[in-house]
């Protein structure tokens, strides 16, 4: 098993790099065109889809469904090949197709305009100006295509592990760099990679089956899969297709369990460990009922990348292998507690599935491919290996980053509570602080003369000691009481 994705621009030299790399490593080279041909044969008209999507906006529901089936079929092909063989995929956005699969080396190959013009000249016999226009048009089409499929800018270098500029680096040197990179533990195929590929394959297969069947092809669904468990979320208005979905997905096999959840939207619940016993589950369930939302659980096991290891270098490097003991799968999740939570959500009818991501925050962000499906994120119990203060700090930073990155509300469980059940206790406490602060303030101003007399009387040390003792109590007491009032006022404006 093995997979390397190489994203290319037109005539950027990726073909030669892919061929050389495949030869050096003994991998099979798969080009986008190979898979597109099979997709066409399967009955998905890729060229028509491409034309429709890259032209001016067409809000066509049928196209939307076709697009999702296309993506699912492409993923299915790649997963099957990657599981059974070692492959290099040379295409436009293979890294986006293989969402959430860890330890895959994602490469981008590019060249400057002169380099690419030379390529066009040699292969298409166009003059310089025509070559320039050709390259620009193809780049624009590809950008639109990638954006319409994945909502991402394919040229964003942050999505790749390695970017190679073939106008500066010869192809053979580029291949050497890639091979050196592959030696890093981050790109070793592990049990997690295998599981992720198999889950993605199952998810894609289910999506394809549902999308190709005339009874269910129009359903606006979200499919997730974990081990032998498939979860399908359907909006309430299409609840009548549930039975059809169960029938269509029988072809997945007797060992596969399919669950359908009817929901309007989804809440993404991100934690490192899930527990039934905490109030968070009950609060989220209440919220899901009010919002008519499915609850999608995303287990994130934080594992900092090399740049974040400076402060606390690991004592033992575990080569990226999961340190979790393999536990019997329980309703599609890899640990018992998460399984219990998801089962409870299924019984309540609000389950949106469960998936697991391991790695840095970059991995977490990349695994959230369709943020528009969610109304909000809920974050709890993360960075469990860190001390409590570090957990608080990192959680606060993550909440801020997620909110800005995905432009969605991100809440902690405490915020769920305060919205669902506001506290009378808090109000009484603030009123008490107001009274204390007023009393202290008035006392100081009304007795100022007496205080000055005692504090400046050199002969009266006892008086000084009394005043200083009172001062060391009054000052922090006033500070605390008044600060409680100011904090409450600022909270009314949602500051703090």
């Amino acid at each position: 098993m093995g997979l390397i994705t190489i994203s290319r621009g037109t005539f950027s030299g990726s073909k030669i790099v892919s061929e050389l790399l495949a030869k050096e490593l003994g991998y099979k080279l798969v080009c986008r065109e190979d898979i597109v041909k099979k997709t066409d044969l399967f009955g998905i008209p890729v060229n028509k889809l491409q034309e429709a999507i890259t032209k001016p906006p067409v809000a066509n529901q049928r196209l939307k469904h076709l697009r999702e089936v296309y993506l699912a079929y492409m993923r299915l092909q790649l997963c099957e090949m990657a599981i059974n063989d070692k492959i290099i995929y040379n295409g436009h956005s293979g890294h986006l197709l293989m969402k959430g699969v860890p330890n895959i080396l994602k490469i981008r190959v590019l060249g400057d305009m002169e380099f690419r013009i030379n390529g066009v000249n040699k292969n298409l016999n166009l003059d310089r100006e025509e070559a320039k226009i050709y390259i620009k048009n193809v780049d624009t089409e590809r950008s639109k295509w990638t954006y319409s499929l994945f909502g991402r800018d394919w040229s964003d270098p942050m999505q790749y592990d390695l970017t190679l500029n073939l106008s500066e680096v010869p192809a053979n040197k580029a291949v050497e760099s890639i091979i050196a990179y592959l030696d890093s533990p981050e790109f070793k195929i592990t049990g997690e990679t295998t599981r992720a590929l198999e889950n993605l394959k199952l998810e894609s297969l289910a999506r394809v089956q549902i999308g190709k069947n005339s009874r269910t092809e129009k359903a606006d669904i979200k499919v997730t899969a974990e081990k032998d468990y498939v979860n399908v979320i359907i909006p309430p208005k299409q609840a009548d297709v549930v039975q059809d979905i169960f029938e269509v997905t029988k072809e997945l096999g007797n060992n596969i369990t399919v669950n359908c959840t009817i929901a309007n939207t989804s809440i993404l619940w991100i934690q490192e460990k899930y527990h039934m016993d905490t109030g968070t589950y009950r609060d989220i369930l209440n919220l899901a009922k009010k919002m008519d939302a499915a609850v999608e659980m995303l287990r994130w096991e934080y594992n900092p990348g090399p740049l974040e290891r400076f402060h606390n270098p690991p004592d033992i490097y575990n080569s990226g292998e999961s340190t979790l003991k393999p536990e019997p799968s329980f309703s599609g999740c890899t640990d018992l507690q998460s399984g219990r939570v998801i089962d409870a959500l299924i019984r309540e009818g609000y389950s949106g599935g469960c998936s697991t991501v391991r790695g840095s925050s970059k991995n977490l962000y990349l695994s959230i491919l369709h943020p528009k499906r969610y109304s909000l994120f809920v974050i709890d119990d993360l960075f469990l290996s860190k001390p409590p203060e570090v957990r608080k700090r990192k959680t606060a930073e993550l909440i801020e980053d997620l909110a800005v990155h995905f432009k969605l509300p991100v809440l902690e469980p405490s915020e769920l509570k305060s919205r669902i059940s506001p506290g009378k206790k808090q109000k009484f406490f603030t009123a008490g602080c107001f009274i204390v602060a007023m009393v202290l303030f008035i006392s100081v101003f009304f007795n100022h003369g007496q205080i000055i007399k005692l504090i400046t009387d050199e002969a009266n040390n006892t008086g000084k000691i009394i005043i200083i003792t009172i001062m060391m109590v009054f000052v922090p007491a006033f500070a605390y009481a008044y600060s409680t009032i100011t904090k409450t006022i600022l909270r009314l404006f949602k500051i703090g």
Binding site: L307, F310, E389, V390, L408, I455, M471, F478, S483
Partner: protein, 354 residues
């Protein structure tokens, strides 16, 4: 301002000015961990409050404000008490050394004694803090590959040297050599004792030498300030130089400001925090540079007419105010922008929350 002895007679207008001073100082404190001495003390003196009363009241105010600020920062995981205590013990040694040197200057009688002390303090202030402000500002504007965090070059350098014993600080999530902590603590204490400003060296030192996140440096500095404030409050009160009315009026503004400043550390990125810190320190340094000719004239090193003294002192004061007010404006503007951005995002919250 009219005074009875050294204690001012407060009217509504002067009370409001003190509240506003407190608001600015509190905001700076909550945001960068320092905002007291460099702004509040000269600010109160400018209102006609005698210097020693301004210092004593401000230190007492610092005690309670730091307690609150440190508690709020602590809730966000920004206070490493263990590190604070290590720095405190060594800072006390630094303060002692500073007091010895300062006393040596001020024992000399007359204008030249005071001028010599003022010149010494100004030179220390300018030489150390100009380097600090340039380093922080330069680092803040530099683009980095791995994000917007501060440079870790110095921290990595000291880690490589490995000077045992090395102490683990769990909250700050770093390991630092005891010897490095001692040097930084003593330097912070020495500066606090010399120029009354410890945060300006303590916070950057924690960030760049220890490799601590900016928010933790600000929070831990506030924790340190509790003890320094308490000790200062007791001493100044014993000497009869604390006016509790000034303290409470300062609180009326500063305890609003400190929450705004802490909120700012939550919603704004590290880069802005460091930029604001660098800007404030730089303007404070310029303020001191402008005041130096006055001291040099008094010591006979240069010849300028005494009639120019008010101009130099006034301009120096203006820069000091510019430091505090510009820092305050930058923080508040950035906080308001971030606040409206959040409101916009939170508008997407489902109806069940509204």
């Amino acid at each position: 301002m009219i005074t009875e002895g050294i204690f001012p007679v407060l009217d509504a207008f002067s009370a409001i000015q003190i509240v506003i001073l407190g608001l600015i100082g509190g905001t700076l404190s909550g945001f960068i961990g320092s905002g007291g001495a460099f702004f509040l003390t000269p600010g109160m003196m400018n209102l006609g409050i005698p210097g020693v009363l301004a210092v004593g009241s401000n230190i007492t105010h610092k005690f309670g404000k730091s307690l609150v600020g440190s508690k709020e920062h602590g809730k966000l995981g920004h206070v490493d008490k263990k590190l604070g205590l290590f720095l405190l013990i060594t800072a006390l040694i630094g303060i002692w050394a500073a007091v010895q040197i300062n006393s040596m200057f001020f024992k000399k009688q007359g204008e030249s004694g005071s001028a010599a002390g003022d010149l010494y303090i100004s030179i220390v202030f300018i030489s150390i803090l100009s380097i600090v402000s340039v380093l922080i500002s330069k680092d803040a504007v530099k683009k980095r590959e791995h994000g917007e965090g501060p440079s870790t070059k110095l921290a990595e350098f000291f880690t490589k040297i490995y000077l045992p014993p090395v102490i683990q600080f769990h909250v700050a999530d770093v390991k630092v050599s005891f010897w490095l902590i001692s040097v930084v603590g003593m330097a912070t204490g020495f500066l606090a004792g010399t120029i009354g400003v410890g945060g300006f060296i303590g916070v950057p030192a924690m960030i760049y030498l220890f490799g601590i996140p900016t928010t933790v440096a600000a929070g831990t500095e506030l924790f340190l300030a509790i003890f320094m404030g308490a000790w200062g409050a007791v001493n100044y009160a014993w000497a009869g130089f604390v006016d509790l009315r000034l303290v409470f009026l300062l609180y009326t503004g500063s305890l609003f400001g400190i929450h705004l400043g802490i909120y700012g550390t939550k919603v704004l990125n590290e880069k802005i925090i460091r930029l604001v810190t660098g800007l404030i320190i730089l303007l404070s340094v310029i303020s001191r540079i402008i005041a130096v000719p006055v001291y040099m004239r008094k010591l006979g090193y240069i010849e300028i007419a005494p009639k120019w003294d008010p101009l130099f002192n006034g301009t120096s004061k203006a820069f000091l105010y510019a430091a505090g007010i510009s820092g305050f404006i930058v923080i508040i503007t950035a906080v308001i922008k971030a606040y409206y951005k959040r409101i916009k995002i939170r508008a997407n919250l489902p109806a069940v929350f509204k």
